[in-house]
């Protein structure tokens, strides 16, 4: 199975050739990248984690759905068996649908960051399983497609990546401009210090959702768009690569990255 199968043109470039290969060989283990980790079982993605994305524990406890102790007890009692998700349902703490909705949200959120471009070397540790256990595995190709779609969606909404990483500075609404309910909740936390990711953690919302909402706010003029492109936002390519030319050949860089990943 290749990532490009059946995709419309434009999103065929694999986000991670290694992920495609591992899916093809139905591998089980952990795919470690700079910005996060994907967990595979039989080539399907069962979990993802990223320091940028609030985990399922944050999503469930921050909004008050689950007391922190309830979560910790589940991890204590079922973590070693890698069945925390199952335990949360079987012990009546969560319903199946809630767990699946929340877990999928966290999975695609973390995968978006884990698969961010220029994410450095990729390693795979065979046989490693995550303690959350299987909830609702998704195909590697759907994770890749969604990750690419999300990147394009951000730029479609407001093509200024600098707002993703800069502290969020709210602007006064124009006379007569409406601010929606969810926007208000975000803007209340825009204190000029918190970044979009920090706001996501504070609210217990997926980080990508917050990036997207902040881009929408910036497009509406309700949040400042920083002048400087955030060049140093995410570690991308080694300096010697980018300094070769002011206009780097994307295809060349992709091949270079693929070759590097393939050799690992």
């Amino acid at each position: 199975m290749t990532a490009g199968t059946g995709n419309p043109p434009g999103i065929q470039s694999a986000v991670s050739p290694m992920l495609v290969r591992l899916a093809g060989e139905r591998a089980t283990g952990a795919l470690l990248r700079d910005h996060g980790t994907l967990y595979l079982t039989d080539g399907r993605v069962v979990h993802a984690e990223s320091p940028a994305a609030p985990g399922i524990d944050v999503l469930l406890t921050r909004g008050g759905r689950l007391p922190r102790e309830g979560w910790e007890e589940a991890v204590d009692r079922a973590g070693t068996r890698s069945e925390v998700g199952r335990f949360l349902v079987d012990s009546g703490r969560l319903h199946d649908g809630e767990l699946e909705i929340c877990h999928l949200g966290a999975l695609f959120d973390a995968a978006f960051f884990a698969l961010s471009p220029g994410s450095g070397p990729t390693r795979f540790r065979y046989g490693v399983a995550h303690w959350i256990g299987p909830v609702r595995p998704v195909s590697a190709s759907s994770v890749e497609r969604e990750t690419v779609r999300r990147r394009e969606l951000l730029d479609h909404v407001w093509p200024y990546a600098a707002v993703d990483t800069a502290p969020v500075v709210a602007r006064k609404p124009a006379p007569g401009q409406a601010v929606t309910r969810r926007q208000r909740v975000l803007l209340e936390l825009a204190d000029g210090v918190r970044t979009p990711v920090a706001i996501a953690w504070a609210l217990g919302r997926p980080a990508f959702h917050t990036l997207l909402d902040i881009r929408r706010l910036a497009a509406a003029g309700l949040v400042e768009t920083p002048e400087e492109p955030a060049a140093a936002s995410l570690p991308t390519l080694p300096a010697w690569v980018t300094s070769v030319s002011g206009d780097p050949d994307i295809a060349l860089l992709r091949r270079l990255r693929d070759a590097l990943e393939a050799s690992l």
């Binding site: 008050g64 319903h95 809630e98 909705i101 999928l104 949200g105 929606t180 208000r184 209340e188």
Partner: protein, 169 residues
């Protein structure tokens, strides 16, 4: 207490059901799909319906004017409860008790003020039924019905029930 797949499966048993999906309306992600999609691509459909749902959930025209001073539940106020639900069902927002009053720091209910959307086309009906979760989420059920064989009133009620059972068990 159905999970995503069981919920979609049940939605597909409704008369005239052509396709169903569970979609996140902030991101446009399809969390699960069943049956066909109107344009042959469930993911593209999800992205489009999400935009519609987001607009409805966010526009002030569809928001309650202000929080009523009475403690009466403001959500899902409509009429008779179908026979499948024993007794008056609790409003989702009040199910945990603590959510009955506006949370400090935010302005009230987390769920969108809109229950569902219905789009009628020449050949079909689309029902988008919002799922209200007790954690911060933005999810709806989308059911696509054949216009000749579908029963809009029944499907709307059933989909609302499914949306509740998906998270309340």
């Amino acid at each position: 207490m159905p999970g995503i797949d069981a919920c979609l499966e049940e939605a597909m048993t409704l008369p005239g059901a052509l396709g169903a999906a569970i979609v996140d309306w902030t991101s446009g992600l399809a969390l699960g799909t069943a049956g066909q999609s109107p344009n042959g691509d469930h993911e593209a459909t999800a992205a489009e319906t999400a935009e519609l749902a987001r607009a409805a959930a966010e526009y002030s025209a569809f928001a309650p004017p202000a929080r009523p001073p009475t403690p009466a539940p403001a959500s899902r106020p409509d009429g008779p409860v179908p026979a499948t639900a024993p007794g008056p069902r609790p409003a989702p927002g009040t199910a945990t008790g603590s959510a009955a009053t506006p949370a400090p720091g935010s302005d009230g209910d987390k769920g969108p003020p809109v229950e569902d959307l219905i789009v009628t086309t020449r050949t079909g009906y689309h029902i988008l039924s919002f799922v209200e979760t007790t954690f911060d989420s933005s999810v709806f059920l989308h059911l696509w019905l054949d216009r000749r064989t579908g029963n809009l009133a029944l499907a709307r009620i059933r989909l609302g029930q499914l949306a509740e059972r998906l998270v309340l068990g």
